[in-house]
Amino acid sequence: MSAQDKRDTTELVQSSLQRRYAREKRFRFFGLAAITASLTFLAVLLITITLRGLPAFKQTFIQLDITLDAKTLGTDENPDTDALRKANYNGTIKNSLLALFPDVKKRADKKRLYKLVSNGAQYDLQRKVMADPSLIGETFTIWLPVGDDTNGYIQGNIDTTLPEKKRRFKDNQVQWVETLKENNQIERRFNYTFFERGDSREPEMAGIKGSLFGSMLTLTVTLLLSFPVAVATAIYLEEFAPKNRWTDIIEVNINNLAAVPSIVFGLLGLAIFINFFNLPRSAPIVGGLVLSLMTLPTIIISARAALKSVPPSIRDAALGVGASKLQVVFHHVLPLAMPGILTGTIIGMAQALGETAPLLMIGMVAFIVDVPTSLTDPATVLPVQIYQWADLPEKGFVEKTSAAIMVLLAFLIMMNAVAVYLRRKFERKW
């Protein structure tokens, strides 16, 4: 190569060099832009949900002096439990409200006055009295949850500048609440109800405990079923199965299964578990079974990938010192693949946690007030609960929906944190 040629080459390379650097710069810019965009969307989503949902964690309470006289309750002086349960607590609450504002006389005004206190407040009172029947005949002070509209007013959700006809919360109600506020008889407290109650038709009485427990039970079933089955399948397919047409078919089908729309699993669950095996509807056990079906392929695929990524030199080493095939797998390969398998499992479980469609098919969408305590109790799960609340018109449920989403997200983050912790714990260098 002559000196001339060399110089030409240098120039050529230099001229193309700038183009190449420019291209790299452009690519970096696009990447950065993409990340910024996705982060923005995420931030918007989180901020909206948080702003919407935060108020739901607070509940407004009203202080009332309750006089429990047997007459109003409609019981005798020493009622039995049954009578206590059926007693007219609503009447006593109404009486004490009327006592606060004695000048309310009109029927319509009375009705509005009664609406200040939640419809569910009677159950709070009932619980208190049933715990301590000696209260009957006494007068005592109690904090009771306010009604949905009142709660909305206190939170500033009701625009009082609108003409009275156009709003649900009327002028005299505003007046009463302001009076109560001045007397320090209105207070906002942390909303324990939200975490302690099941579903309710009244937003101020509705809680997520029922669906949270439902989710936990369902996920427990899913985990206990899908993890061992999936890991065993993955180990067999990866380490022991002969490579022939049959295993190829199985492999393809597992991959296809992972791509099947989840509602199909719901239909399958309905047909097999409920109609054929006669398992109870809306039960976590059926939900868990269906979600296991859905999660299995995900875990199998990730477990196989994890097993495959264990370096062959480790297998050689173990075989070389005379370990049997099974010992090689269980002493060396599986522990090394564990972090990967756990990651896949958590991803599968997170998917299952967020799944709604198949559960709708097996009836986990019913309105269930009681907190489930066993696998066969009717239950619902968090995402279904969110779906249900999102459908309801009351203002209080909008907040509850967002709050439930926050709880669901917290649950997910917790599961991921566990995954990260487990991975760290099991991870080893080789």
């Binding site: 002559s2 480790i314 080493a317 075989l319 070389g320 005379g322 010992q327 090394l336």
Partner: protein
């Protein structure tokens, strides 16, 4: 730059376009030198190895003697590693691999019906190309084999085996204060010696080594070679190596393979000063393409 560059003639192309491998192997003729020894530890007779349809080893006869290092050398793909892996049936893990012929360990057929590959691998240990300690503690690495085979009666026994194996592998002094550290925290050469200790711990009779130094620096290599020389006193050793210098340094006998055929075998001294076969001469003098 104006001159046309003439393409270099490709050796491989010429070979495959005009002759099949079988024909070339046939043209190599009989093995030169004496493949047999008195009182062999392992004995290979007329062994052929197939990967599916492709034949990788052609009718090899070879003995491995006690207290001797035999090195197998040859260009890549000459079948030396394949043969080595047949000696403790590591090839069993490859489903398409088929072995014919006779492979004996102390006069027993190792591919016979009565021979268990797991037991065989305890008797015929193997050290691999890449140092591959288990990601466990140094102690556990060495203790794994004996525990597996139940060689120890109690914990003290096991401690003895571990310490002795590490001593024999010449690494004890370097690791005695950190037996509970991970085996992967050691340097490459130490890892390989740990792997040798792990193999020794199963008290094998034969040690197979598949390019044990190819991933190591020269100093680590020298230490391993010295170790191999010491181990010769108690074991029969077969070593596959890409480095003919290494073969010259560590072995007493050398076998040269070409395209799956054992071309020449003999005393290392003779092979490296006066080989009989032209291919051997070309290979060890670096005249191959």
């Amino acid at each position: 730059m104006n001159e046309e560059v003439t393409p270099l003639p490709s050796l491989e192309q010429d070979q495959t376009s005009e002759q099949t491998i079988e024909e070339i192997v046939a043209s190599l003729g009989e093995t030169v030198g004496e493949p047999r020894v008195d009182d062999p530890k392992m004995s290979v007779s007329n062994v052929n190895v197939f990967y599916a349809e492709k034949q990788a080893i052609f009718g090899v006869d070879l003995d491995i003697a006690n207290n001797e290092v035999i090195s197998m050398i040859g260009p890549s793909g000459c079948g030396k590693s394949t043969l080595l892996r047949c000696l403790n049936r590591m090839n069993d893990t490859i489903p398409i691999c088929k072995v014919t012929g006779e492979l004996m360990l102390d006069g027993e057929d190792i591919y016979g019906k009565d021979t268990d590959p797991v037991l065989l691998r305890a008797r015929v240990g193997m050290v691999f190309q890449k140092p591959n300690p288990f990601p466990k503690s140094i102690y556990e690495n060495v203790a794994y084999g004996p525990r597996l085979h139940g060689l120890n009666r109690n914990k003290a026994d096991l401690d003895d085996i571990v310490v002795n194996s590490l001593k024999k592998a010449g690494i004890y002094n370097e690791v005695k204060n950190r037996l509970d550290e991970s085996g992967t925290s050691l340097s490459g050469g130490q890892q390989q010696r740990l792997c040798i200790a792990r193999t020794i711990a199963c008290s094998p009779e034969v040690i197979l080594m598949d390019e044990p130094c190819s991933a190591l620096d020269p100093i680590a290599t020298a230490k391993i070679e010295e170790l191999i020389d010491e181990l010769r006193e108690n074991y029969a050793i077969a070593i596959v190596t890409h480095s003919m210098q290494q073969a010259a340094r560590v072995s007493q006998r050398t076998a040269y393979f070409h395209l799956g055929k054992l071309v020449e075998v003999g005393d290392t001294d003779t092979i490296f000063t006066n080989p009989s076969h032209e291919l051997t001469e070309n290979y060890i003098t670096g005249r191959f393409g």
